[in-house]
Symmetry: C2
Subunit: 223 residues, 2 copies
């Protein structure tokens, strides 16, 4: 039973497709949005392996410059600002507000735990209209290591005052769910389009195709 549910933010709650018009305009190919975000994640993982840290927004800028170098595209300051500003103004996936409200109304504690920096996370959740739903908004900035490093989940468990086994991490990234489960949490995977878990990996006990399906299962399993 997990009465405190912790949500990843980017891609899990918020829809990165709002960036598509900018990638279309800058690179002439919306597929570069996906390539860019994969580079963001790779850069964050490499920093964590090397014991380095810079805020996730800066990692986004680094990955954008690498994507531009690969494509032979010269970025303007306006291009960079457009991506940065849009990342702070992402809409929620359509089913998210209703699903989270239902969970909160059922008496669950809701928290956010994100690779975004603290101030950026608060801005993102406020702009998406989700901020009032969360009792805690937590950032990896507190430990200066990105998910899925164990320090992140341990910090969050301590901040929430809960044993790891009472916590459930909800994410659209297999590595985030794996990191939480590795730290003794339960997991829930939101299998959004293109998101998969390796068949060989330990699967969380909750998998749904969107947040509605995940919340429906939480309301059965974690009552």
């Amino acid at each position: 039973m997990s009465r405190t549910i912790v949500f990843d933010v980017n891609e899990t709650l918020l829809d990165l497709n709002a960036l598509n018009p900018h990638f279309e305009r800058i690179f002439g190919d919306v597929a570069l949005k996906t390539a860019w975000f994969k580079q963001v994640l790779q850069t964050a993982l490499v920093m964590t392996v090397l014991g380095e840290y810079t805020d996730f927004g800066s990692v986004g800028g680094i990955a954008l410059d690498m994507t531009a170098l690969r494509q032979g595209v010269t970025l303007s300051d306006d291009d960079r600002a457009a991506i940065r500003d849009t990342m702070l103004n992402l809409p929620p996936h359509p089913e998210v507000p209703e699903a989270l409200t239902r969970l909160k109304n059922a008496g669950f504690r809701l928290a956010a735990l994100t690779n975004s920096a603290q101030q950026a996370a608060e801005t993102q959740l406020t702009n998406a209209g989700l901020a009032p739903l969360f009792e805690h908004k937590m950032s990896v900035e507190a430990v200066r290591r990105f998910k899925p490093a164990a320090e992140v989940y341990n910090m969050a468990a301590e901040a929430l005052g809960e044993a790891p086994s009472n916590l459930r991490m909800v994410a659209a990234h297999d590595w985030d769910v794996a990191g939480a489960m590795h730290a003794g949490w339960r997991g829930a995977f939101v299998a959004r389009p293109g998101m998969v878990i390796a068949p060989q990996a330990e699967h969380p006990d909750i998998i749904g195709s969107d947040m509605t399906e995940v919340v429906n299962k939480i309301l059965v399993v974690d009552v």
Copy 2:
């Protein structure tokens, strides 16, 4: 001055394009080869952050299954075997044998340091005709953490009996060069097509577009 030069293997010495016909046949899209190898690297990085390890060949299989899941493709055992066998039989990039031979003939010690497992690395280098060039063939298997973890470079420096500052890591991956430099080595980046270093990152003192250019620079800098 670095008189011992350590080479990454996959993509740096060996040409993954030999896999293209298989990805074309299995997925109908050769671009999935690149997506697959990015997933290989992400899975290896995540394992290293989580303190887990399995051999790189198995990581390749996991990433292949994830790629197939994403594409809605069912893999046969023959498909899996074709990718695995081709990974063990990759040809060197065309300029590599001559460039490395020139470096060895100039009196340099040459070593390989790869994410591939020990036996796989030896098979790969033998099949590519490069094995006799290397005094040491080293695998991350010895420390069960993937590059760019510091343990890998420290293990290699000890095996080579050299101070880190006497070693130079040559790789087509920015994160491998960064890991080596982080451990006190010099670096050299092979800027093969699609391979870039973040503009903001510390750059190694040697960058070349292929192995010929990199070796030419080593022969000037490290004499």
